[in-house]
């Protein structure tokens, strides 16, 4: 079996168990992003795959080989660190070729591979510079280059973009996605930034407190979050959660300041589930203004009153910090770039996009 498998991995520091038994399997060539808040165990997991951190129990297989106790260099992996971890005393070429030189690769082969990687990353003219003479983005690319020349079976990324500014980060995301296509290697990427996860991943692993909350494609985790945690973590701005009661024969969700009809799909699910008290999840981007819908609401749009505290202008949308009843929510409303600041009043919500969660377990009602 190829790819990367983690079987019943645990990790404890003394009596403190940071990773409960963990099972994950990544396919060959897949780009997997492990995402979660800091302290969720994602970095530890990655470091265990890399062999920088020993596992307490369980086994790790890479490309079908059991590498649980293998040293990092025996695992056929390359890794990109958050701080880039470049060798300050070596120039760019030296950094990129270090692993190959250690492995005794013939000189011309080393040069060839460094050149290919440098071309790919537009680093050719910097090959003889020391890291301290490079910009942050260039250093980042050298770190990538160092991994690329290895031509490893599996690439590991530990929050590689978090030290870059927002614009560069966006560029690098795209470059990474392109790189993955070119190299066609298994990549495991750890980040706390769900946007990176959503934009790059073939599959996302969402972790919290050492536990895997959900594994799925970006679409799956966005559209069908398995629980409150995933729902709240994926999507930006975060999903609003409102306590609600189910009322009526054709169940509606009613809470302080709102009363929304459910689409047939959810009505069925609710009846199967049987609970009365739920948490309703409303994503900010699924609010709309009545004007935008021409005042004549389609059947799936239901009116909802928002008391606007602040309206932030972000171009074609406005971003509202508002209240529904006593509960503070956020809403992103597409009104076009010329509209006046939005005021309190009636807005619409796309009822097809309502998420419901069991109030006690936090699991999705679906």
């Amino acid at each position: 079996m190829s790819g990367v498998q983690l079987n019943d991995i645990t990790k404890s520091y003394g009596a403190v168990n940071v990773i409960p038994p963990l099972n994950l399997s990544f396919d060959e060539g897949e780009f997997v992003v492990i995402v979660g808040p800091s302290g969720c165990g994602k970095s530890t997991t990655l470091r265990m795959i890399a062999g920088l951190e020993p596992v307490t129990s369980g086994s790790i297989h890479i490309a079908g080989k059991d590498v649980t106790w293998a040293r990092p260099k025996e695992r056929d992996i390359a890794m990109v660190f958050q701080s880039y971890a470049l060798y300050p005393h070596m120039d760019v070429a030296g950094n990129m070729s270090f692993a190959l030189r250690l492995a005794g690769t013939p000189k011309d082969e080393v040069e060839k591979r460094v050149k290919v990687a440098a071309d790919m990353l537009e680093l050719t003219e910097y090959l003889h510079r020391k890291p301290k003479d490079l910009s942050g983005g260039q250093r980042q690319r050298v770190a990538m280059g160092r991994a690329i020349v290895r031509d490893a079976y599996c690439f590991l990324f530990d929050e590689p973009l978090s030290n870059l500014d927002a614009k560069l980060r966006a560029t690098m995301r795209t470059e990474l996605a392109i790189l993955h296509k070119k190299l066609d290697r298994t990549m495991v990427y750890v980040t706390h930034d769900q946007i990176e996860a959503m934009t790059m991943a073939d599959r996302i692993v969402i972790m919290e407190k050492g536990n895997v909350q959900q594994v799925g494609s970006p679409r799956e985790v966005y559209n069908n979050p398995k629980n409150l945690f995933v729902a709240g973590f994926i999507g930006s701005p975060s999903m609003n959660f409102l306590d609600a009661e189910l009322q009526g024969a054709e169940p509606r969700i009613v809470g302080q300041g709102f009363d929304l009809a459910l689409p047939p799909r959810l009505q069925q699910a609710v009846q199967n589930h049987g609970a009365r008290n739920v948490v309703a999840g409303l994503r900010p981007e699924h609010f709309a203004s009545t004007e935008a819908k021409g005042g004549t609401a389609e059947s799936r749009f239901a009116p909802i009153a928002l008391t606007v505290e602040v309206a932030e202008y972000i171009g074609s949308s406005q971003f509202l910090a508002a209240n529904i009843g006593p509960k503070q929510v956020s809403a992103a409303i597409e009104v076009g770039p010329d509209s006046a600041p939005l005021q309190s009043g009636d807005y619409l919500f796309d009822t097809n996009r309502i998420y419901l969660f069991d109030k006690t377990t936090g699991e999705a009602v679906a």
């Binding site: 890399a50 920088l52 971890a85 300050p88």
Partner: protein
Amino acid sequence: MTDIPAHGTPTALKRPRDLSALVPYFFILPAVAIMLAGLVYPVIQAFYLSFYDWKIGTDFQDAPYVGLRHFTRMLTDENVWESIWVTLRFGFWTISIEMFLGVSLALLLEKPIRGASVFRTIFILPLMVSPVVVGLIWRYLFDARIGWINYYLGLIGIEPQVWLGDADLAFFAIVFTDIWQWTPFIFIIVIAGLQALPSEVLEASKIDGANWWQHILFVKLPMIRSILMIALLMRLIDVFRALEVMYILTGGGPGRSTELLSLHIYNRAFDTQQLGYASAISVLLIVIVTLLSLGILRMGNPMKDKSDI
């Protein structure tokens, strides 16, 4: 006013009303004054003295001006050259062994293994002992009649050696004592340097496939290169300044076998009381130390090599 940069620029100085531009100079004034008084003045004074034949206890006014006579005498004074040769040999053996031992021990004890911190503390004790006491301790340890070293050698059937009374053994003794005293210095600054290394770079090297040896040779040591240079430089300067330990341990003897240049200068000044000549030799010492230091700085300037990674 407040947007004037903290480092006063020449343009700021052109406006005398703007006294705030002078503030930075005020702040460095004490440091400059101390440096002039404590550093520059004695050196100039030594240089000045070297042109006079001043005997201790006489008025300096009575000391005759002798021009370059001390310097010409120095060039043909075999005792001076012998003590330079002793110093260079001493420096070569002590510094190379101290660097090797200090760096090796730092690499071995860097990891937080059980007991390492206790060992580290014990190991740096020699650094806290005053040089005079170091001299006394080792003088008794090396004592031929009552010293521990001969005692323990005697237990394994080795004849008592006159450690400090034989030219070769005494040289060995001062080298050994210096290593005992100063290896901890190398150890402590190297270990500080190693512990400050970014862990991700070290992990990167493991992932890149460096074995234990390559990891040290190609990554760790080059990354603490500037620290090693500073250690080397400080030890080198110290070797030429070393006086107290040798003064007590051997007094430069037997003969001149352990008479380092600094001790030679001391003996010239205070034993044979030729202050002017001693000053001239100390000018030579300054020249030698400066040349050697510049040589080391050329090998790699620790100030220049400051990386912000």
